[in-house]
Structures are given as C-alpha cells and as structure tokens.
C-alpha cells in the first residue's frame, strides 16, 4: 500500500502535480470558453474582427473638451474621446477627493465636538448610500436649475443654468508663451531652492523662507512679465445666441454631477484612511515633539504626517483605483466616458460586443495598473529608510 503512494508522499512531486493540474484545468476552461464563443458567433452569423474601428461612427458626441469630434470620424476616435473623458473625471475627482478627504480626516480628529460629529455624519451618509444614487441625486438637482433663457448671472461673466456653467474663455495671444516659460523656470528654481535650503539646514541649522520665496517666484515674477508684455491675453465671453450660449467655456451638468458624486463619495473613504493613519502614530511621538518645543503645525508636518503617510498611501491607492473604475457609472447621466461612448454607442451601432468590451476592459486595466505603478513608486519613497 505504502509503495503505491510513494510518489505522492514526495512533497516536490506533489506540488508539481497539483500545480500542473490547476494550470491544465485553467487552460482547458479557457479553451472551452473561447471555442464555445467563436462557435456560437459563427452559428449566429455575427461578424467578428477589428475592421469596424476604421468605419465612420455616424453619430455625434458633444462632450469632447480635448478632441474635436464629428459624425464622420471613426469609431477609433470615439474610443479616444471616451478615454480622455474618463481620465478627465477620474483625475479631477482623485485630486478633489484627496484634498477633501485629508481636510475631513483631520477635522474628524479635532477636539471640537460639533465639527467632529458633522464630519462623522457626512462620512457615514456618503459611504453608505450607493454611488449610483448619489450621481443621480446630483444630476436631478442640477437639472432643476433655471432654464438656459433664465440663466443666473454671477459677477456679470458667469452664467448658470441646467445646461451647465458658462464662463469666459481665456484666449492667449502671442507673447503669452514667455509668461508660460517664466512659470516653468520659476517652478524649477523653487524646486532647486528647496533642495539647497534643506541641505543648508542639515549642515548649519539655518533656515530659509522657502515657501514665501517660491510663491514670489511662481506668481509674482510671471505676473510682472505679463504686464510688461502688455497683457497678452483676452477673454471670449459666452453670449446667448438662438437656443444656447455660444463661445466661452462650459462645464456640463453631466460632468459636474459625476465630479461631485465621485469626489464626495471617495473623500468619505479617504478621510477614514487619513484618520486611521494619524491615529496609528503613537501619542508619545506627539508628546515628545511638544517637549522639545516644536510648534503645533510643525509637529503635524514634520512628525505626524510623514509617519501617517506610510499607513495612508497603500489604501489610498485602492481608493484612486475605485474612483477611476466607478467613473464608468457615467452612463447613468449620459456622461460621455469610455463605457458610454465606445463601450455603449459604438458597441450598439456596430454590434461588435466582444471586441468593444475587450478593448474597454483592457483600457481600464491599463489605467489601473498605471495608477498602481506610480503610487507604488511614491509609497516606496515615503517608507522608513533603514540605515
């Protein structure tokens, strides 16, 4: 009996055997799915292939802030418009959620009972109500704004209606590029000043007003240059013509609803992550730094936050991923993102469901992996460096 099981009692053989078995079953399953799909597609006379990407779309997409889109453009361009719109709402949403989440997380820990309770209620409400409902709620509120002909006028230049927020659009004239160059140079030099000041402080203990000098470089110098060059910028104001405002810059209610819902929802999670991060730094650290005479703001900036970040960043990364993936709910309010445009309209007009879905999934996967990649680099840079 024992001799029969001889192979099996060998740990190495056993592990190879089971691993081969699992891989084999997986490959078999994959093969079955693919062959069944292609067989059924063929049987139902559904054409497959990628050539549809080069065909004209035939429909219009109005929300395309970065690329001009016409109905004669191809489905491939529909895809790019969708990717850009997805990135637009994801990036702006992540930035807003981070800022709001950090503020709320810190306020939640404040000794002010009322403030802390208010944030608690906010967090519990927004993270326990499904995101889809929040998106629809924001959109329904925005739709109830005045009609375009009765737009609210703010400061004489902004117009608010249920068609969106219209503002003047800056038009850059020749000469403005010098201002841009000045800003870039100022950014680089403030970065260098920061490094130099840190080194000097490490060596001599002397401090340099990095913050105020950077502000001066980045804002004041380009501003002076701007006026010396004779203000090479003008504004195009939105004007009511026929049915809609023409000209100017417009932010659509579909985008605003998505942006608000995504950032408010995710900020609730981020604020809890920030709170956990700060609380993970032991009380003794705070007391010790107070004992050596550091100011409250310095304790936060130099002692608490750097240690808290080690706890905060990994779960923060997954919140960014969540927000990006949740942006696919834009379809509920007609926000022209990747799923709505390419994964919805193109899919339906061409009937190439498998191809479109495969592309959309691969795209989300790449976006998510890219976010993870950069957040991991950042995470490594803030980890405790053992000497």
């Amino acid at each position: 009996m024992r001799s029969n099981l001889g192979f099996f009692s060998d740990e190495k053989f056993r592990s190879i055997f089971f691993q081969t078995l699992v891989v084999g079953l997986f490959a078999l399953g994959l093969f079955f799915v693919i062959s069944t799909t292609s067989y059924n597609l063929e049987k139902r006379n559904i054409a497959t292939g990628w050539s549809f990407l080069q065909n004209p779309a035939g429909f219009d997409i109005s929300f395309s802030p970065f690329l001009e889109f016409k109905s004669t453009d191809t489905h491939l361009k529909v895809y790019f418009v969708g990717v850009l719109n997805t990135l637009l709402v994801s990036v702006t949403g992540c930035i807003a959620a981070t800022i709001l989440g950090f503020i709320l997380g810190i306020v939640r820990l404040s000794s002010n009972w009322l403030l802390s309770r208010l944030v608690y209620i906010y967090v519990e409400f927004s993270r326990n109500v499904p995101l889809l409902l929040q998106i629809i709620l924001w959109y329904s509120i925005l739709i109830q704004l005045p009609r375009v002909k009765q737009s609210l006028q703010v400061l004489d230049v902004f117009y608010i209606s249920n068609r969106g927020l219209y503002s003047p659009r800056p038009i850059f004239e020749s000469g403005f590029s010098y201002v841009l160059i000045a800003i870039v140079l100022a950014l680089i030099s403030s970065f260098l000043i920061n490094r130099w000041a840190k080194k000097r402080q490490d060596k001599t203990g002397q401090q340099f007003p990095v913050f105020s000098s950077s502000i001066g470089l980045i804002f004041i110098v380009p501003l002076i240059l701007f006026f010396i060059l004779g203000s090479p910028m003008s504004f195009e104001h939105p004007e009511m013509k026929g049915f809609n405002f023409k000209g100017g810059l417009v932010i659509r209610p579909e985008f605003i609803a998505m942006f608000l819902a995504l950032s408010i929802y995710t900020a609730a999670f981020i604020s809890e992550i920030v709170r956990a991060g700060i609380m993970s730094v032991s009380k003794g650290q705070r007391e010790a730094s107070a004992a050596i005479g550091l100011k409250q703001t310095w304790i936060m900036r130099l002692i608490i936050i750097p240690q808290a970040l080690r706890v905060i960043v990994p779960p923060l990364t997954s919140q960014y991923l969540n927000l990006t993936k949740n942006s696919s709910l834009g379809i509920a309010v007609g926000y022209a993102d990747l799923v709505h445009g390419f994964g919805g309209i193109s899919l339906n007009q061409t009937g190439q469901a498998i191809e479109c879905m495969a592309i959309v999934m691969a795209t989300y996967l790449s976006i998510s992996l890219t976010i993870s990649f950069f957040m991991n680099i950042y995470n490594r840079s803030i980890q405790f460096k053992e000497k």
Binding site: F31, F32, S35, T36, Y39, N40, K43, R44, N45, I46, A47, G58, F59, D60, I61, S62, S71, T72, I143, Q144, R147, V148, N162, R163, K241, G242, F243, N244, K246, P253, I331, G334, A336, H340, G344, I345, L347, N348, Q349, T350, G351, A353
Partner: protein, 334 residues
C-alpha cells in the same frame, strides 16, 4: 486536435439552446417577448398592469398562434441598447420593440426581420413656446437623442446635410428623454414620430408641445428573430401577415365565427376550414382563427392602441392597407 475541437463544438451546441425556437417555446409553455421599457400605444402596462399596445399585440398574436392562449407570454423589457444582445443570447424568443429594419441589423447583427408592423419616420418635438416651425431652424439647439438607435445616426446626417450645428444630449430611455425635454435640459427631442406622439400624449399639458412637420427618415418598425431559425421566423412572420390579411378580407374578432362559413376561399384557408396551413407551420390548424378571435385583425389592434381615437391620435397614413392609399401589404394566403 481536430477531434477535440469537434467534441467541444458538439458540447457548445448542446449549451446554446436555440436549436429550434418553436420547440423550445412549446416545451417552456410560454413565449418570451422583448418589448420597450414602456412606450404608450406600442408596449406599456395599462391601468390594470397588463401589457398593451401594437407591439404587445404582436407578442400576444404569436403566443396565440403557438398555444391558442393570449396570456401565454412573458414580456421582457429591453432598452435601445440591450435589445440586440438580449435577442442574440436567447433571453427572448423574439423582439417586438419599435425596431427599425436596416441592412446592418438584418445582415451583420445576425437577425431576421420578419415584416413591418408600423411604418414610421423620425420627427422632432419642441415646446410650442420655442417658436420654431421647422427643423431647419434648429441651428445650435440641444437635442435629446436615444443612444444606439438609427435615429441617432439620422440626426447626425440631417444636421450635416443642412449645414447646421447641434449639441447631442445622449439618453437611454424614452422616459429620460421626456424628463430632460420637460426640464428644458434639451430644446428638442427626436425619435420616431409615433414615439413623439406617445410622449406628447403622456405630457400633463400636450398643447405645450409641438411635433415639427419634417419627417427625416424611413423607419419601418417590425418584429425580428434570430437569423437561421427559419421555422420560427415563419411562425412570427405569418402571425403578423394573418392579422393584415384578416383586415384585407374584412374578418374581425366580432364576425370571425360567422366567417367560418364564408364563401370566400381565402377566408376559409385563413381560418383553417380548408387546407392544412397550420400543419405546415407545425401549429394547430385554427391558429389564425385564434389570433383574429383573441387579438383582432391589424386594423382593430391599430385603432385600439395608436389610432385617431386614442391619446396618440396617429392617422393610418402609410399604415393603411395598399388598397386604401397606404403601403401595408401581405403576401397572399395560399
């Protein structure tokens, strides 16, 4: 390898349950019919919660043909976008869902349109207060448009052809379009003219809305089935044709019993008194008699659901019989 592949092909065949839709339907005991999410006059629940409308009648007619019972049908709602995957995957046996017959849907998507139960065209609806009398005056307007439809493509063509611009507001369902139009998020709603009449009829004050005179496209709406199952296609096709032929012959739900002893040969063939046309379709011989008895002929269904006496107030127009100035025409029953 070749052998393995064929084993898989057989296995896959066993998994795809659309070998014979008619047999599947008979075994299941009821028909699964894909309809809209609610479009008054075509398919929408009535006051008692029963599905009613021209398309709903189409579904019921097929159920009657197969089972002799108008209640043997499950209505499955589909959006403009979900309808084709729902049919292709076998979730429903047929679609009767204001679907326009086009070459790409017929050929490339792998479906088969079996006929036309409503000849429609795309129109525009605006608030009367907007002061617009023609679609060509709509330069710069915001247009509510259902995505994934032929109307979406016609809209782009129309504005391009006339050299005017518009802003598209994509929506998913007719209700969403209604909501956005009534809230003023868009100036214009465009869809099939029948859909506009239906939407207008559902408004709290229909006089506030105006359908513009332009009809910018041909929209032959009809039931469809999966391509390749010809037997099932025939059942649906002839259920529709039977209703049209009945109108042509003057057979109604009221007089159908009396017509059993008619002296018109085609009436006798239609009602199954002569010939064995039911058997050819693998149905009972009185299938058409039951459709007319339980649903009525095309005219009865039309007048009850969308005709001038209903809130939709759509005149027969193109949908009148070919003998009465329309283009409704069914092949002979012989």
């Amino acid at each position: 390898m070749k052998k393995l592949l064929s084993i898989f092909a057989v296995a896959a065949f066993a998994f795809s349950a659309n070998a014979g839709t008619l047999d599947d339907v008979k075994n299941r005991g009821f028909l699964k019919c894909g309809v809209t999410t609610g479009l008054a006059g075509f398919a929408a629940p009535d006051d008692s919660g029963e599905w009613a409308g021209l398309d709903a009648d189409m579904c019921r007619a097929v159920a009657v043909a197969v089972f002799g019972d108008r209640s043997k049908v499950e209505f499955i709602t589909t959006t403009g976008k979900s309808r084709f995957p729902t049919l292709a995957s076998g979730e429903v046996d047929m679609l009767a869902r204001n679907t326009t017959w086009t070459i790409s849907r017929d050929v490339n998507l792998g479906f088969e349109f079996v006929g036309v139960n409503f000849y429609d065209g795309q129109g525009f609806m605006v608030p009367s207060a907007l002061g617009v009398s023609s679609a060509t005056e709509l330069d710069g307007a915001t247009v509510c448009i259902q995505t994934g439809t032929t109307t979406e493509l016609n809209l782009a063509d129309f504005f391009r052809l006339n050299g005017i611009s518009y802003e598209a507001l994509p929506i998913e369902t007719n209700d969403e379009g209604k909501e956005n139009l009534f809230a003023g998020r868009c100036d214009v709603y465009t869809t099939d003219a029948s859909g506009l009449s239906s939407t207008r009829a559902a408004a709290s004050n229909p006089d506030k809305w105006k359908v513009l005179p332009e009809i910018i496209s041909k929209e032959p709406l009809g039931p469809l089935v999966r391509h390749g199952d010809h037997q099932w296609g025939d059942v649906v096709r002839w259920s529709l044709n039977a209703m049209i032929i009945a109108e042509e012959l003057g057979v109604t739900s009221e007089n159908v019993d009396a017509q059993m002893s008619s002296n018109v040969p085609e009436v006798l063939r239609l009602l199954g008194v002569e010939g064995n046309y039911g058997e050819m379709l693998e149905l009972s011989n009185d299938w058409a008699y039951q459709i007319i008895k339980q649903i009525g002929n095309y005219s009865e269904s039309y007048e009850a659901n969308v005709g001038p006496d209903t809130p939709l107030e759509i005149a027969r127009g193109l949908n009148a019989l070919w003998t009465q100035g329309g283009i409704l025409y069914a092949p002979p029953f012989r």
